[in-house]
Amino acid sequence: MKTSLKTAGLGLWIALLGLTACVGAAKPPPDSATIESLGILASQAGQAEAKQQLRHWAEQGLPIAQRELARSLLRGDSEAQQQGLDWLGRAALGGDAEAAYLQGEGLRLGRYGQRPDVTAAKPWLERAAELRHADAALALARLARNGEAGPRDAAAALRWLQLAAQGGNAQAMLLLSNAYAQGQGTAVDWLQARHWLEQAADRHFPAAIQAYALALENGELGLDKDPAQARELLMEASEERRNRWNTR
């Protein structure tokens, strides 16, 4: 599922924890859930003491703490955002996939007081994708499809979409389904098109639920016509639209 890749950076850190435990470090560092819980208090509740503890751990070099500290700082004024970007960069270089993704998207979209710069964004997204960050792989797929920060490359787009879809990104699954249905960067493959559409709908992505429902109504992609299930799916989508309106 989605979280598994988003937390790949955490996974790395946990691996380090494991290693340090083996060599008998005196005081084990906090685990990822502890740091992220503190991140909630810092970002959502604005608790100063939580931010202070995160800063302490960030200064000790814990990438997750650096990222969570950055997240709370990026909600602040321009000075805080500048610090936030600095911490984000350190977390990303320290192997945190989510931080690399946030850094890349921030540059691509011109967030946090930065000018949009897709060329500068790309290496960060690539770093995140190398760490198996599904959302970063989707962003790279879009750059390749649309010829941004490089020439259009349907084959590369397909590879990134596959990585993103395998990592659980539902938007990527829908686009991958389309690519197989239309033969973009690949031969037409109806089975794959159907598989990834079903997967995308299973993740409650409203656009994919609708696409799947319409395919069921029409009997497309080798599906048997099933208007009753299609109607149910559109009801589901009507509920999900209130949740997943801002999906990455």
Binding site: T3, D202, A211, N218, A228
Partner: protein
């Protein structure tokens, strides 16, 4: 699962796993011994549960004004029949709900927004739940959809959130405790509801000698919502509350609940099952919750799935996401997750969760006999897979006033009139009488959004033209009777009032959210070419009859564009192959350059890649919103004193390139509508001809 994460998996600290084994022993120690209960006494107990009811009391579609009873049946009134049966089978029972109760049907919107209920009234769904004698409930994410003040009122609870005050006096509310353990007030740093509750129930145990013995048990309940509510309902929640991770919250409160005398602890987890590594930010935390020591049973939801696998004949197979959970931890036949009995009762009252626990009194305490536990997610057709239970009629009477008021609301005047019939019979030859108003509403929304935005990037787009597209969603796709036709017969001398439900006719897909994309002129042309795929390629030399639109199956992909004052115009040359049909695309009288910027108001389906339109992959989306296109249309219509054909129905952006054909060309549409085409001044529609599967063939003269 990626190779990387699976490699790392064995390293994950899993202290909870080991201690899960101890959970059963710890579980029942809360109350100490009761000397009156003979050692070896047994107690059969059923935890009954609903989840994701979504304000479905009756089996009714308020937009189509249609009863759904039967195979498409749903609703609490139907589930009530399951509850009645299950209670008869299990005299010792507890009835719980897992959240997403108050939102989901027009009834919910009516009671929350159109005609917000006063403090003195109780929501229809809560009335029904009170009557059914629910013992406890938890929140779902959708409980926040109508905002915190409404939640405070309808739960009759002070939330302790700054700026949110419950109305004075006792408000109508559930008569059972509604708990939540992980949503906290920023101001108070405390839970907005009771984080847990003890439900005291009297049961009948069986003594070793076979005699019956009344006993009293405390059932402890906790509740959890997905932390994602902070994104999903940011508008209602940001800065007011924060959401702790489910495991952290359970770890804090389970021991408290035990120390206060809970014999059994049941987690009402409004989340699904996800076995990927735990994070306090994860949406579906129930798998990890099962590993928190001291939880005896898990009621799950949110994913609208069936767990354990359906047991009725020819029941649906286990959902793929559940089937792929690690078999070592999840038994999807017995309904065990890390050994903890777990149920998910789908949604909308279509199932009832039944966890049967068998307790034995040993060493002065009640102990769960794990091997005797059974779990079932029982469907409305559980007896034979075919026969659906008869809904409980008393619930229909109980909420009849609310039901009728909602129907009356759906039919109520929207507050505007139209002097023209808004139909889609001839949308494929250029009529926009049912489309232009949608486009006008969407343009208005997006322009206002940009004008009022504080986002620097959006602000910088202020001078880019905002255009819009929408499709004739109901234009023959489901047969000759399936056409949008609002205010039939309306004329300037006899205008008609629009009804509340009409926006649903003009904009069929209630699941769509409005979005805006920023594209180039070249993208716009490619978009129009894709829309124009709906037309057959007409061979002018062919003397045989040619169907202009051979299939209506994907007519929802026929996007018709509009700019204010009809400033965007284009023509379609149906004699050309797909991809080379759009000519004379111009904006404000000038040809559209490939490099020109446009902002297009559309929906989330199209913007996210639905229909596979070139370049639309979510990356061009500049506005995302939880506002439905339908609601955008409704709000815009309400602000118009009257709709006129001149202003709202005749701004045709596109027409055909004139073409002389050797043979006849026809369009299939509903029979008997030639007068409408003529009234619309569609000169190309010259005659009504032979029938074809219920459709009439209208002769189309493309030279006109």
């Amino acid at each position: 699962m990626s190779a990387l994460t699976s490699q790392l998996r064995p390293r994950l600290p899993q202290p909870a796993l080991a201690s899960a084994c101890l959970a059963a022993l710890l579980a029942l120690s809360g109350c100490g011994s009761d000397s009156a209960i003979p050692e070896g006494s047994t107690l059969e107990l059923a935890l009954l549960s609903t989840t994701d009811l979504h304000q479905n009391v009756l089996s009714y579609d308020y937009y189509q004004l249609k009863d759904l009873t039967g195979s498409a049946g749903l609703g609490l009134a139907a589930a009530a029949t399951l509850i009645k049966t299950a209670r008869a089978e299990n005299p010792n029972n507890v009835l719980l709900d897992d959240g997403d109760v108050i939102q989901g049907t027009l009834l919910g919107d009516y009671q929350a927004q159109a005609q917000p209920i006063p403090c003195s009234a109780t929501l229809a769904i809560h009335k029904a739940m009170n009557t059914l004698g629910f013992d406890g409930g938890g929140l779902g994410n959708h409980e926040f959809n109508y905002g915190l003040p409404f939640l405070s009122q309808t739960l009759n609870t002070e939330l302790g959130v700054t700026g949110v005050a419950k109305p004075a006096g006792d408000c109508g509310a559930p008569k059972f405790p509604v708990v939540n353990s992980n949503v906290m007030s920023v101001a108070g740093k405390s839970p907005i509801l009771k984080p847990y509750a003890l439900i005291n129930k009297s049961f009948n145990a069986t003594m070793p000698n076979g005699g019956s013995l009344p006993v009293s048990l405390n059932i402890g309940i906790l509740g959890f919502v997905p932390p994602q509510v902070m994104d999903w309902d940011a508008k209602n929640l940001a800065g007011k509350v924060y959401v702790n991770g489910v495991v952290e919250s359970a770890t804090q409160y389970v021991p408290e609940l035990r120390s206060k005398g809970a014999h059994l602890v049941v987690a009402l987890s409004h989340g699904g099952l996800d076995a990927s590594p735990y994070s306090p930010l994860m949406e579906n935390g129930s798998f990890h919750l099962s590993k928190v020591p001291g939880i005896d049973a898990l009621i799950t939801g949110h994913s609208h799935l069936i767990f354990p696998a359906a047991q009725e004949a020819n029941g649906p197979k286990l959902d793929g996401s559940l089937a792929s959970l690690p078999a070592a931890s999840v038994d999807s036949v017995k309904g065990l997750v890390n050994g903890v009995p777990t149920v998910m009762a789908q949604s909308w009252g279509r199932r009832l969760g039944i966890i049967k626990l068998s307790l034995v009194y040993q060493g002065g305490q009640w102990v769960v006999q794990k091997d005797k536990t059974t779990v079932e997610s029982r469907g409305l057709n559980y007896t034979d897979g075919k026969t659906f239970v008869t809904p409980d009629a008393s619930l229909a009477s109980l909420i009849d006033a609310e039901h009728q008021a909602t129907i009356a609301y759906a039919k109520q005047p929207l507050g505007t009139t139209t002097d023209f019939e808004m139909s889609a019979y001839f949308a494929l030859v250029g009529d926009v009488s049912a489309i232009q108003i949608v486009n006008q509403a969407q343009i208005d929304y997006v322009k206002s959004f940009i004008a009022s935005s504080s986002d620097a990037t959006l602000k910088s787009y202020a001078n880019i033209p905002v255009i819009s597209c929408s499709a004739p969603f109901k234009a023959g796709r489901n047969g000759a009777g399936d056409f949008t036709d609002v205010a039939p017969g309306a004329t300037p001398t006899a205008p008609q009032a629009l009804q509340v439900r009409n926006p649903g006719d003009l904009y069929l897909y209630g699941n769509n959210n409005i979005q805006a994309v920023k594209i180039k002129g070249a993208d716009l042309k490619a978009w129009l070419e894709t829309s124009a795929k709906q037309f057959a390629q007409i061979d002018p030399t062919n003397t045989a009859a040619q169907d202009l639109v051979p299939s209506y199956s994907t007519i929802y992909n026929f996007d018709v564009f509009y700019a204010e004052n009809n400033a965007l115009t284009y023509q379609v040359d149906v004699s050309k192959p797909v991809g080379a049909r759009i000519v004379n695309l111009s904006y404000q009288g000038q040809p559209v350059a490939d490099s020109a910027d446009f902002i297009v108001a559309t929906n989330d389906y199209r913007a996210g890649g639905g229909g596979a339109f070139p370049g639309l992959d979510g990356s061009k989306t500049i506005i995302k919103s939880p506002d439905a296109n339908q609601a955008v249309v409704a709000a815009y219509l309400k602000r118009q004193p009257q709709l006129t054909s001149a202003a709202n129905g005749s701004g045709r952006a596109w027409r055909f390139v004139k073409l002389n054909t050797a043979g006849p060309v026809y369009l299939r549409s509903a029979p008997g509508k030639l007068a409408i085409a003529q009234g619309l001044g569609l000169a190309q529609v010259t005659a009504e001809g032979a029938a074809d599967n219920g459709y009439s063939r209208y002769a189309i003269d493309l030279s006109k």
